[in-house]
Subunit: 224 residues, 2 copies
């Protein structure tokens, strides 16, 4: 990973002389195929072998366009980032723009949680879509009157919440079933039951909305 990745966008370098065999597919094709594969079979089904097969190519051929499987995940991530809706930051009041952005962001990555561990730690350098999103969000915060130094921490806090909530959205409905230990956790068990007549309904969406409102209110107070 600290290896000399050929800087996503080109594979090695273009020198001077003769041209190669026509590439079966470049990084765009690999990205599209990987995404399709993930949608159809999930992240367990995303193997280099399966990816190659869906492109009609031998697995080893992929390594002419991509330096590792992690590279493929980065490509998919960038593609997903371009689908996050941050348009509200140029048209809506700050609160509504944040809400719209956060819902879109969470909605997309809730179905791609295996990418979160990669994203959260991945430098944005040379990730144009991700950078475009950050630029738009930053502009929205500036326009709303946030001091410049507060903006990045605010975005980081919101993103942390969004990523965590994306995991949460995949929890099974019975995640809080205390089972045979219910007797030793009376208050918790009662609180869970109080959520509704149907037991075991997990309040992921309600919780997301509540926490997001709290964050928006709390962070919004930092404006000049």
């Amino acid at each position: 990973m600290p290896a000399p990745t050929p800087a996503p966008g080109e594979t090695k370098a273009r020198r001077r002389a003769g041209r190669p065999m026509a590439a079966v597919l470049g990084q765009d094709g690999i990205t599209a195929a990987a995404l399709e594969l993930v949608i159809k079979k999930g992240y367990d089904g995303l193997t280099m072998a399966a990816l190659a097969r869906s492109l009609g190519v031998a697995p080893s051929a992929l390594y002419n366009h991509v330096s590792s499987k992690d590279d493929v995940l980065k490509l998919v991530e960038e593609d997903l980032m371009s689908k996050v809706d941050f348009g509200g930051f140029s048209t809506l009041p700050w609160e509504d723009a944040v809400r719209q952005w956060a819902y879109s962001y969470r909605g997309i990555f809730a179905r791609h949680t295996p990418l979160i561990s990669v994203i959260a730690v991945l430098p944005v350098t040379d990730a144009p879509q991700t950078l475009a999103m950050y630029e738009a969000v930053t502009e929205g915060f500036l326009r709303a009157g946030f001091p410049e130094q507060q903006i990045i921490p605010c975005i980081v806090a919101l993103e942390a919440y969004i990523f965590g909530a994306a995991f949460d959205a995949n929890a099974p409905a019975d995640i809080f079933d205390s089972g045979k230990l219910a007797d030793s956790t009376p208050h918790f068990t009662s609180a869970v039951r109080s959520l509704g007549p149907e037991r075991n309904n997990y309040p992921s969406d309600l919780a997301f909305s509540m926490g997001l409102d709290a964050l928006i209110a709390g962070l919004g107070a930092l404006r000049d």
Copy 2:
């Protein structure tokens, strides 16, 4: 995974007649060895083979005590949960108790992010330590005057934030380096630079503190 797991705590069942060979190590020993291995070599080093070797046993022997590697991860998770400090909920004002709990929780799991994808989706049934924590937190919320139905969503929201922040805490200092694309993201780049004279210092701790305060303030307003 939906397989008939022998219900963590016993491996199969105890019948009537003769006793077995003395078990080299039970689940407690496996848990301890796994945790030690993770601390020393990281989660990449936690393989069934390495785990067995550190216990002086053949890999296949582990499967007499544990039904899969995922099972091992669950055991480690429970162990870590028991180390989360929720003591403040019986002694401190609600705000301070939440803060103490959140910092402890994040601090522990920041070094165990590979577990988060497991935890966030894992039923608490038969996870005594986890349940003990939830019970204490719930009691704290009740004592602070929260309506019963709000408590679980509040906890879920806080946990989402904590998990996301745990990922964040592992981000490299240069994660926001916009590199050669800096020109096309002027506001964002400027906001990043405004964080300090030393460029590339990632504000994970500051962001966590800010977001946590916002959440505490916003959720705290839900009390009766």
